[in-house]
């Protein structure tokens, strides 16, 4: 899987939109990710729903790759690092502790998300925890996008996806980065996470992700504009 990046600017600062669904702010050597939901697969299994293992390990590897590739000095997680107490097993605590050892010098800031609040975050992970909004440079970092933004925000929580109408019949739902004039909503970084279909308005920019690639979406290609009429009928 090749990785691609696109350069853009948020608030006059150059940022890299990376195909692995992270965002890198070059000047401050800071990597932003949102919504990993680690341990979600485990939470399912604990409830008797057979979901294979592997997603959590994969996501941590991808995150490590991104940190190594960018030489980031700081990682900001915009909430929902963990899925919940059911998934936060001793095994996961161990895995994360070991993973953390690989990045001793890295400063990791976790802006707590609604899922994180249900868990006591182990201190051994050495995370800098923040509840609420954290200002970093020109960005207001938060989990849930604010309803009345004061400053340009970087947020997660929504797991935005965009629906594209491909020619022919297939329609695609792709995870996306949703940049509005007032802030940006990052895609969910975790691979075992669902999506919320966004409805971009004029003036928004959308980047879609698929298989480690990223591409700008021209808004006329989203189904918002062309509508689902042709498959509108169903029986019964």
């Amino acid at each position: 899987m090749s990785m691609e990046c696109i350069l853009s600017t948020f608030q006059q600062h150059a940022v890299q939109i990376r195909g692995d669904r992270s965002l890198y702010w070059q000047r401050e050597r800071t990597l932003f990710v949102a919504d990993l939901h680690l341990g979600k697969d485990k939470a399912f299994r604990a409830q008797g729903i057979p979901v294979p293992t592997g997603a959590t390990k994969d996501d941590l590897e991808r995150l490590a790759d991104a940190l190594r590739a960018t030489h980031a000095e700081r990682l900001v997680i915009l909430g929902d690092l963990l899925h919940g107490p059911e998934g936060c097993s001793s095994e996961l605590i161990d895995t994360l502790r070991q993973w953390r050892r690989g990045f001793k010098a890295l400063l990791i800031t976790l802006v707590l998300g609604n899922h994180d609040r249900r868990v006591a975050i182990p201190t051994e992970w050495n995370l800098d925890l923040h509840d609420g909004t954290l200002d970093i440079g020109p960005y207001a970092c938060c989990h849930e996008p604010p309803t009345t933004p004061q400053r340009f925000y970087l947020a997660g929580h929504l797991h935005p996806v965009v629906q594209l109408d491909a020619r022919g019949r297939m329609r695609q739902r792709l995870r996306c980065l949703w940049v509005r004039p007032t802030g940006a909503v990052l895609p969910a970084f975790g691979s075992f996470t669902g999506g919320y279909r966004i409805r971009p308005s004029k003036g928004d920019q959308v980047w879609a992700f698929r298989d480690g690639q990223v591409a700008a979406v021209s808004l006329s290609r989203t189904s918002e504009e062309t509508g689902p009429r042709r498959k509108a009928e169903q029986h019964r």
Partner: protein, 814 residues
């Protein structure tokens, strides 16, 4: 009193087939009763048991008869008819219903003290097996009756029924099984699926073909296009409805039903005697319409297939079918709703929504006369249903692996189940499915000494909430501010509306107030609206059977044979087609080539139905671009398919002949379609049935949100981390077999590759190609612009053809 005496007390005389059924039951046989609706099938299946019970006298307590019906709504009617006989013949016996509508208290009482006769659905019957305390009561069963078996065979609910039946037989060895079925093409096979070999077929009176009339449009368009609702026939339909006391008006989609209901509401003074009934309406609304219909208060009900089955309205005078009938079995089912009494003919009125449907209606009329009906192919190896069934058994006190394997293999669906597949399903439920390593922390079933039980009572409870094979989409509940529920719409539809927007749903104009937690709060809207609730999903293809009928009708037209009134009404369209291009006879395959501004269009007309065309179009596009890379986009409808290319093919006839080759079909097809993506979509149903997707407890959506994942996401996770999972393979197989109708596609390809390919190069669109062109437009531009462009184009083509098309056709038959 004997059943005969009871019959004469009612003023009836038993039919010979009813007596034959009673005697067959008495001899200990199982079998299938084939008779039309309204001919007394219920008593044919019931009274044998009552007669024996009277002779035998009182026996130990417990359940004696389990009556399985596919439709909840039927259960009530059944209870009434069964009670009527039981009250006179065996007054001590209790008759009860057990469906998802039954109250929790009644259900738990039934577990402790079961009635003699229980009427239930396949889902609720399966649920009975999940209660350990039910085990003893089920041992006393004498008879299981499966009603409307033709509706179940060929579906996963049918597979679920098969599994329930073999489980019941293994606990009550003398159990007899009787099925009731209307006509289907493969009755003998259906009988074998239900009863195994050595069973009896009892033939009752066969159905009388309905009286059929078609409302002929005054001037049928010569350039038909699908996609509008046939409302140009509104006035004629209103007068047809007004000449009778009561009418059922069937549409093919829920959206179409809403639109017709609104149009009728706006143009008539029928008021409350006009009703709407479809599967997405709240149960209370549907039941209200049903009740008023039974009381004879309804002049007209606009309905979809939700009213197709069972519900008996004695006072329905006629049935109106709007749009393509799609298949004969379905048409008979719908026609059977009218004059629902023995010996009376039902009355059916066809309303074409475009000119091509006139041809379909002509074909349908002929097939109805000939009693020629489609087959329903039983499904095989549905591992998702098996997984669900095993969890059910595990919840009901556990099962032993060896005995259960033998039982499962005695079904038609799983007779070819391999040891490997069986082991895999057991693994999947105990360790998580991967054969080499277990999923950590997973537990669902526990195995000890080859006996499997559910891991915890909580899991059993959750399993019971999610039993069933009917999969519904992400549904949003629509309700008024004050709380009255109207029904459900799809999330994808409502998500496009903003608060303040109005839309048409449940026969009302509604304004969206707020969308929250899968509930849309609405109030009555006053503004006129053009947005009608829509439901996604596959459109039903023309049945193989009706497709053949359409081809025969076209051959008849092409060879100057005598057509009926429908065919004659379509004549203007057909003769223009013949003049410009060709109406293909049997043995001919028409290929049209038209170059327009956007490229060169190739139109091919196999007349095989939408799904087969979809596969065929993908296959042709793949094979045509294999030799020379090019971009080809495709569009299909029930009659043909279109391939659009930038540049004309240098030798289209040879290219198409090569591409229609029957060799390496499956291989090429899988390469041609985005099989992965299709399977991913199809996985939804499998994931739900196999218990991967948790629907949640009613009214407790929030608590279960942590456990919700879309099936697409699960598909991705499985493909990446457990690619050997057999459920993935099942998804791929079901896509090929069911969605793309692979066997039908193969048959079609064999048929058309033997036909003579006739290439016609046309300067402009023909009547046959026009609907395909319109469908492409529809996919590409917005609604308003689409309708405008299609109208404009059709006007231009009409004008052209009136002028006699002075331009000479370039290159006629090649």
């Amino acid at each position: 009193m004997t059943p005969e005496q009871w019959f004469s007390k009612q003023g009836w005389r038993p039919f010979d087939y009813q007596r034959a059924a009673w005697d067959a039951f008495d001899s200990g046989a199982s079998g299938l009763i084939h008779a039309r609706t309204g001919s007394g099938k219920t008593y044919a299946a019931l009274l044998g048991l009552l007669r024996r019970a009277i002779v035998d006298g009182e026996r130990a307590e417990g359940l004696r008869l389990l009556w399985i019906t596919p439709l909840r709504a039927l259960a009530f009617e059944l209870e009434v008819s069964i009670r009527r006989a039981v009250a006179d013949l065996l007054p001590a016996w209790r008759v009860e219903r057990r469906t998802s509508d039954t109250s929790a208290s009644a259900r738990s009482r039934q577990l402790l003290d079961p009635p003699e006769i229980l009427i239930t659905t396949p889902e609720s019957a399966s649920l009975l097996l999940s209660y350990e305390q039910m085990g003893k009561s089920l041992k006393s069963l004498d008879l299981v009756v499966v009603d409307e078996w033709h509706e179940l065979v060929g579906t996963k609910r049918g597979v679920q029924t098969e599994l329930v039946l073999v489980s019941l037989r293994s606990s009550a060895p003398g159990l007899q099984t009787w099925g009731l079925s209307a006509t289907i093409g493969n009755l003998a096979e259906a009988q074998e699926v239900l009863c195994g070999s050595g069973s009896v077929l009892i033939e009752g009176p066969s159905s009388v073909s309905p009286d059929v009339d078609t409302l002929l449009p005054p001037a049928p368009a010569r350039f038909p296009w699908a996609g509008h609702m046939g409302l140009q026939m509104l006035e004629e339909v209103i007068s047809v409805v007004e000449r009778c006391r009561s009418t059922l008006l069937f549409t093919n989609t829920r959206n179409q039903a809403e639109v017709w209901h609104q149009a009728l509401q706006g143009c008539t003074t029928w008021g409350d005697s006009l009703g709407l009934h479809h599967g997405s309406l709240d149960r209370a609304l549907r039941e209200d319409v049903e009740t008023r219909a039974r009381l004879g208060l309804m002049r007209c009900i606009v309905a979809t297939s939700s009213l197709e089955l069972g519900v008996d309205f004695p006072v329905v005078d006629q049935v109106v079918q709007v749009g393509s009938p799609k298949g004969i079995a379905r048409l008979l089912q719908r026609a059977g709703r009218s004059n629902h009494a023995p010996g009376r003919r039902s009355r059916l009125v066809f309303v074409p929504t475009n000119t091509f449907e006139l041809v379909e209606f002509e074909a349908a009329k002929r097939l109805l006369r000939e009693h020629s009906v489609e087959s329903r192919k039983p499904l095989t190896l549905c591992l998702d249903v098996l997984a669900q069934h095993l969890v059910t058994l595990a919840s009901g006190g556990g099962f032993s692996a060896t005995a259960t394997l033998a039982t499962v293999r005695s079904t038609y669906c799983f007779r070819a189940l391999s040891d490997m597949q069986w082991q895999w399903v057991l693994h999947f439920l105990t360790t998580g499915g991967e054969t080499l390593r277990a999923y950590t922390q997973f537990h669902r079933l526990e195995a000890s000494e080859s006996r499997y039980t559910i891991a915890s009572p909580a899991l059993a409870k959750r399993h019971r909430m999610n039993i069933g094979t009917i999969v519904s989409d992400g549904h949003v509940i629509v309700r008024f501010l004050k709380g009255k529920r109207l029904g459900t719409v799809e999330e994808s539809f409502i998500a496009r509306l903003r608060p303040g927007d109005t839309f048409l749903f449940a026969g009302r104009t509604l304004t969206l107030v707020q969308l929250r937690d899968m509930v849309a709060i609405v109030r009555r809207g006053s503004r006129r609206t053009h947005t009608t609730a829509k439901w996604l999903g596959g459109r039903m293809p023309l049945s193989t059977h009706l497709a053949q009928g359409v081809r025969d009708t076209l051959t008849l037209a092409a060879t100057g044979g005598r057509l009926g009134p429908e065919g004659n009404a379509a004549c203007a369209m057909l003769s223009l087609q013949q003049e410009r291009s060709l109406v293909p006879k049997g043995g001919e395959l028409l290929l049209e080539q038209v170059t327009l501004r956007d490229g060169t269009h190739y139109f091919l007309y196999p007349f095989e139905g939408r799904s087969a065309h979809e596969g065929l179009a993908a296959l042709l596009a793949y094979r045509l671009s294999r030799s020379e890379p090019r971009t080809i986009s495709t569009v299909v409808n029930d009659y043909g398919l279109e391939l659009l290319v930038d540049e004309p093919l240098s030798n289209p006839k040879t290219a198409f002949l090569t591409a229609l080759d029957t060799g390496s079909l499956l291989e090429d097809l899988l390469a041609a379609i985005d099989a992965g993506e299709l399977a991913r979509r199809h996985f939804r149903e499998i994931a739900r049935i196999a218990g991967l997707v948790f629907q949640g407890f009613p009214g407790r959506i929030k608590e279960t949100r942590q456990l919700q994942a879309s099936s697409g996401l699960l598909y991705d996770v499985f493909s990446r981390h457990d690619p050997e999972n057999l459920l993935l393979q099942q998804a791929a197989r079901e896509v090929v077999e069911q969605q793309l109708e692979f066997s039908r596609l193969g048959d079609a390809l064999a048929r058309i590759s033997a036909q003579q390919l006739r290439l016609h190069e046309l300067p402009t669109l023909s009547p046959f190609s026009f609907p395909l062109w319109a469908a492409r437009m529809q996919a590409e531009v917005s609604t308003e612009r689409w309708q405008e462009r299609v109208k404009k184009m059709s006007a231009r083509l009409e004008a052209d053809s009136k002028r006699g098309l002075t331009r000479k056709r370039s290159g006629a038959a090649v």
